[in-house]
């Protein structure tokens, strides 16, 4: 699978499409992508320290691959793909099953109808309780704002499967929230 030459993922408006292999600053790549890489790992591993370790490993791996990286957008694409797969591998390797099921996610005490930290945390924990593939699809869709076709490429799964994961996950979350009456 080829990395997309031009994507909407580089949304900072600076230096996304520099000439291949010229002037790529690894420090800038780290700076620009650290939150993305770390956050994807965090949603999966649910452990800040381990998420940072994994993110560091992925950046170091990229450092070894810099000879093949053509642009900043390419680096972002590479990092996103790498952290997705490394996160899934890591969670499987360590046999980290969701420590919580959707049913066990405690209801927020504050049932306010506007976004608030409690609802945010509650949703996060519900997402973290989703099965691996579904969780990654939801994270890439709503954290990374990727389209289903992009997620399909990223995770090497059919678009229909991506849409199915999204549909079922949203229905599950919606049902759970409705049951707990925390969401409109």
């Amino acid at each position: 699978m080829a990395w997309p030459k031009k994507t909407g993922s580089c949304n900072r408006g600076r230096g996304c499409f520099v000439i291949a292999g010229v002037g790529l600053d690894f420090g800038r790549i780290v700076e620009d992508n650290q939150s993305m890489v770390y956050s994807i790992a965090l949603r999966f591993l649910r452990d800040r320290e381990r998420a940072e370790d994994l993110a560091q490993d992925v950046f170091l791996k990229l450092y070894g691959e810099m000879g093949r990286i053509e642009t900043l957008a390419h680096a972002t694409w590479w990092l996103r793909r790498a952290i997705c797969h490394r996160s899934i591998d890591e969670i499987r390797r360590r046999k980290l099953r969701p420590r919580i099921s959707l049913d066990s996610v405690p209801e927020p005490k504050d049932r306010a109808r506007t976004p608030d930290p409690l609802l945010r945390d509650h949703l996060r924990r519900m997402v973290e309780a989703l099965p691996e593939k579904a969780r990654m699809v939801v994270v890439l869709r709503y954290q990374e704002e990727l389209e289903p076709a992009e997620i399909s490429e990223m995770l090497s799964m059919p678009v229909s499967t991506v849409k199915s994961h999204l549909h079922r996950s949203l229905a599950l979350l919606r049902g759970r929230l409705a049951k707990q009456e925390v969401c409109p």
């Binding site: 939150s35 770390y38 956050s39 965090l42 170091l60 070894g64 945390d121 939801v138 949203l170 979350l173």
Partner: protein
């Protein structure tokens, strides 16, 4: 807000701890010059090890068997060639001795 908006809000990217980038860059200095993965000896060794581990039972044994067969056949041919050469030179030597110039 819709569920999807709430999800976007909940899944907003977070920054790692302060100094994360510095730690990564510090580790890259230990890693020295970035060399392509395929050019690193350790990767070659690892790949070779994995390949051996994965393929030894059928492929490598078969390859070795064929190489051994080829080698033994080459050795046999070499000895045949030298033996014929020896015989012919002996014949020539005898002919010369029979009919000295």
């Amino acid at each position: 807000m819709s569920l999807e908006d709430n999800l976007r809000e909940a899944l907003r990217r977070e920054m790692p701890s302060a100094g994360f980038a510095a730690k990564v860059l510090a580790r890259t200095t230990l890693a020295k010059t970035p060399t392509p993965v395929w050019r690193r000896p350790v990767v070659w060794a690892l790949a070779a090890g994995l390949a051996v581990a994965a393929l030894v039972p059928p492929a490598v044994v078969e390859y070795r068997r064929r190489e051994e067969a080829r080698g033994l056949e080459a050795r046999r041919q070499l000895l045949v060639a030298l033996s014929i050469t020896r015989t012919k030179l002996l014949q020539v030597k005898q002919r010369v001795q029979r009919n000295p110039l």
